[in-house]
Amino acid sequence: MKKFSLLNHERIPMHEIMAEDEISSVLKQYGIGKEQLPKIKVNDPVIKEINATVGDVVKITRINPTSGKSYYYRLVIE
């Protein structure tokens, strides 16, 4: 059977695992700790797809007509 990647679907925005330094700059920008980020479960299909693990932060790049590009950050939780 052919394997499809979820990430290729047009309705799924780009998900990337963030590097530590990138995370800390985002946290600093918003003046928050990691646990104050929005969450996403490890068993979420898209998280499985990019092989993120608990404690990772994923950066989601959403493209929409009103804002152009917008970023969203989610902490991967159990």
Binding site: Y30, I32, Q36, N64, T66, S67, S70, Y72
Partner: protein, 880 residues
């Protein structure tokens, strides 16, 4: 000094459990043993229900337990030792489950040890991830019930029947509360855990009461009537009953009364304790007052709309508020609200006396509360509040000095909040400036009806008077009506012309209408216009005249450029724009209406483009002034020509009626043909449809077309000189469909989008043949409302009409509940100064409000960009 004390604290955790008999006794200040409350001298009896140690409610007295005064003393519990245990009515469900899933002999939970361990670990994981264990616990109970014999002692398990309100019958024998309690007592702590309970805070036997807490008198205060007679609280009455029966029970038991009497008394005790907790248990006659009124006991205090939760905690009554019927007044600004003198005299605003206002405040104080404008109270320098009366008003005015506070009555220009329930969006509460007026209703400009969803068929509205400058400033900046002309829901105006404003403007601006000087001045009299423009021309006598478009242009701001198709636009294949022969292409240049008719598209609430543009380009103040002018001009505009609607407006000529009849008959024969084809099985089904569905759809289609045709025929004979057509086409009120139904044909009545099929088997009414598929047998109404419906049509119409009523009733309750859940879920979210949306823990919900940070009221009807329009307004050219 007390500031720190009132700092908000965070609740770490809340734990719910059962209260144990030990705890009840521990927190009790005294056992209550006598049912009498006061002795002959009216003094509370010791160890009675009004024992002084239970707390104080009379001002001036000190509590015997804690020494504090009324208001400070929180009250102290007592307790009643019940002679025999009784069931707590609130726990029947769980008691039943436990009894059925534990051994009748050894009280073990009827599950194998391995199974118990498995369930327990599963429960623990559920707890860890924060899920409610309820459904899982129910599964455990269900599993345990299945056992026929105890896996531990081998005892055969008997079925336990539950009978309302609180009887448990095992094999025909009623279990006494004592027996039940014994069984529950014997359950091991480990088994209790498997049942999803924590034995430290909730042992199952605590669900059977052996001792009853007696709430402090502060919870059940007695009131002294005017006659000097004391009237006790319902709870006290109920407690008296419980103590009486308890005593009788004890006396009888000690005297060795027969078992039958003991059982009766036990039942009675159970009854009183049950109704003490809940006086509306099904199967239990409610305990009543001597007058026959049912007592309001504990559950009744909490439950329902007027209960503690919904009535006292979620919602409260407030001071400085007023409520009365609303009525319209187009002469008021949209920012104003008319307030009756009577209300203005009762509503006050506290003002600190300073040098610049002392003279006027002295005047208010000396006017007192009866002469308007006056003042109702003064707060002296020492903080004492003094009521102003006729007697002391002069004296107080004399004494008034800087540093005092005067609570003066409402006057014109004060800022108040105005509200109509249901408050579904932020525009349901807006700030208005006061205009004190005679008569007894609140008056508002009809343009602000849409945001409040108000009409004047008896609607009432609430008013709240702001009490300090910060609140007034905040209200004026954020909540004033003019700041809410544009709705954040769709980025367009929600306040604007309605009904007669639209018809009036339509009549005034449509085509070339000559307005003489008298009329022109009359029309613009109330608007903020002080000069007439150059007349458009002069009549035969040499008198000047103006066009309606010119008159309308006077209220437009200079520098306004705009073009769009009006609501009346016929949607011609190629729009001739400015040259439109229907006068329906609005073209405004530098605040001058060059062509087109002003209707709903221009000034209407929800759709008004002129309104939208003025607010966005010239600001909210100019916007509100424009709406004020529109309302005034439109009202005079409609009065100049007059607009009325009567039964004769639905008259259509004979030939039109014949035409309509003909087209309806044709449709009916076509339907008959379809049916014949269907019955002959010659009909081709639509793709993906059965034959039955196909015939229904085709018939619906045919009849729908027939109705539209009837409407078109009628419409052709009803032109723009017909007032109903004017209203429908300009968007003021009603639609062409309404007119079609009145003058042409009412059309198909439907239930759930289908033709009417319910009723008798195979037919809707007994005077049709079984299986008749014809139009008239399934709710097609050939008549018009004007010609009148025949009995079967009338019946079908009632069926269709009822569906609409039921729908709205169901929808409002459903959307109300949905709204409440949404509000409860979102109420703590806040947009922070860094534009993130966060909840109370600081957890980010959105990194930018709405993920795009766009304020829809500042953008163009929710569109993110405005550049094209800006370029066009500067260069005059459309740029793609």
């Amino acid at each position: 000094m007390d500031k720190i004390h009132s700092m908000p604290k965070r609740v770490g955790a809340i734990k719910f459990g059962l209260i144990s008999p030990r705890e009840v006794r521990k927190m009790s200040i005294t056992p209550i043993i006598t049912a009498d409350t006061y002795d002959d001298d009216g003094y509370p009896i010791d160890m009675g229900l009004m024992d002084l140690r239970l707390g104080v409610i009379d001002p001036g007295l000190k509590c015997k337990s804690c020494g504090s005064r009324a208001g400070e003393c929180p009250g102290h519990f007592g307790h009643i030792e019940l002679v025999a245990p009784v069931i707590h009515i609130g726990f029947n469900k769980i008691i039943r489950k436990i009894l059925r899933s534990t051994c009748r002999k050894c009280s073990k939970l009827l599950l194998e040890p391995a199974k118990k361990d498995e369930y327990l670990s599963q429960l623990n994981t559920l707890k860890e991830i924060g899920h409610l264990p309820e459904t899982y616990v129910n599964e455990i109970f269900k599993e345990a019930r299945k056992a026929k014999n105890c896996p531990y002692c081998g005892e055969e398990q008997l079925e336990i029947k539950f009978e309302k309100p609180s009887d448990y019958i095992e094999d025909g024998e009623k279990l006494t509360p004592t027996e039940i309690r014994d069984r529950l007592e014997n359950i091991t702590d480990d088994d209790v855990r498997v049942m999803g309970m924590n034995p430290e805070t909730a042992r199952p036997e605590w669900m059977i009461l052996t001792v009853l807490p007696v709430p402090p008198v502060t919870v059940r205060p007695s009131i002294t009537l005017e006659s000097g007679q004391r009237s006790e609280d319902d709870l006290t009455h109920k407690l008296v009953d419980i103590i009486r029966i308890n005593q009788r029970f004890q006396e009888n038991r000690e005297a060795g009364a027969p078992q039958l009497i003991i059982e009766d008394l036990w039942e009675l005790l159970q009854y009183h304790v049950t109704t003490y907790f809940d006086n509306e248990v099904s199967g239990v006659p409610p305990a009543r007052h001597r007058s026959g009124r049912p007592l309001k006991t504990l559950t009744q205090r909490l439950k329902g709309k007027e209960g503690r939760f919904r009535g006292s905690l979620s919602g409260k009554r407030v001071n400085f508020s007023a409520r009365t019927v609303v009525s319209p007044d187009p002469n008021l600004s949209i920012n104003e609200v008319g307030i009756p003198y009577e209300i203005a005299k009762h509503m006050t605003i506290p003002l600190k006396v300073i040098t610049s206002n002392i003279d006027i405040l002295k005047k208010y104080v000396s006017n007192g509360r009866l002469i308007y404008p006056g003042a109702n109270y003064v707060v002296r320098g020492d903080g004492k509040r003094v009521k102003i009366t006729e007697i002391n008003s002069e004296e107080l005015a004399e004494k008034l000095e800087i540093g005092w506070t005067v609570e003066r009555q409402l006057i014109d220009g004060d800022i108040v909040l105005f509200n109509r329930q249901p408050s579904l969006h932020k525009m349901s509460i807006m700030a208005h400036t006061v205009k004190v007026l005679p008569y007894k209703t609140f008056r508002l400009n009809p343009s602000v009806c849409p945001p409040y969803n108000a009409d004047f068929d008896g609607d009432e509205m609430n008013l709240h008077v702001l009490q300090n400058y910060e609140a007034m400033a905040e209200a004026k900046i954020l909540m004033q009506v003019q700041e809410n002309i544009l709705s954040p829901r769709f980025g367009g105006p929600i306040i604007g012309g309605i009904h007669d404003h639209i018809s009036g403007m339509f009549l005034l601006t449509r085509n070339e209408k000559n307005v003489n000087k008298n009329d022109a001045l009359e029309l613009l009299r109330k608007a903020e216009v002080r000069e007439l423009p150059e007349p458009m021309g002069y009549d035969e006598v040499g008198d000047p005249f103006w066009s309606g478009k010119q008159i309308f242009s006077q209220i437009l701001p200079k520098g306004l450029n705009l073009e769009f198709s009006a609501e009346v636009c016929m949607k011609c294949d190629t729009c001739k724009k400015k040259e439109c022969e229907h006068d329906s292409y609005v073209f405004i240049e530098d605040g001058e209406l060059i062509s087109g008719t002003i209707d709903e598209r221009a000034i209407g609430a929800f759709k008004g483009l002129v309104l939208d543009k003025i607010v966005k380009e010239f600001g909210t103040t100019r916007g509100s002034q424009f709406i004020d002018d529109v309302t005034k001009l439109a009202i005079r505009g409609i009065m100049r020509t007059g607009l009325s609607f009567g039964i004769s407006d639905e008259d259509i000529p004979k030939e039109a009626q014949v035409q309509i009849q003909k087209s309806l008959v044709t449709a009916e024969t076509e339907v008959s043909k379809l049916i014949a084809a269907y019955e002959a099985k010659e009909l081709d089904p639509f793709p993906g449809r059965t034959l039955d569905e196909t015939i229904e759809l085709s018939i619906m289609q045919k009849l729908g077309k027939a109705r539209d045709q009837a409407g078109n025929i009628a419409g052709n004979y009803l032109g723009l000189e017909n007032s109903a057509v004017i209203m429908a086409r300009s968007g003021a009120r009603g639609s062409m469909l309404n007119l079609t139904q009145m003058a042409g044909c009412v059309g198909q009545q439907a239930v759930r989008g289908e033709r009417i099929r319910r009723g008798y088997s195979g037919r809707t009414l007994p005077h049709f043949d079984k299986g008749d598929l014809g139009a008239h047998a399934h709710g097609f109404v050939k008549s018009s409302y004007k010609s009148g419906l025949n009995p079967t049509e009338y019946f079908f119409h009632a069926i269709g009409g009822r569906e609409g009523l039921v729908d709205t009733a169901v929808r409002t309750s459903q959307s109300g509940y949905l709204q409440r859940r949404l509000v409860n879920a979102l109420q703590d979210l806040e947009v922070q100064y860094d534009r993130t949306v966060r909840e109370t823990r600081g957890v980010i919900v959105q990194f930018k409000y709405g993920e795009d940070g766009i304020d829809s009221t500042k953008s163009d009807y929710g569109e993110p960009e405005f550049v094209h329009k800006v370029v066009k307004s500067v260069t005059g050219k459309e740029v793609v």
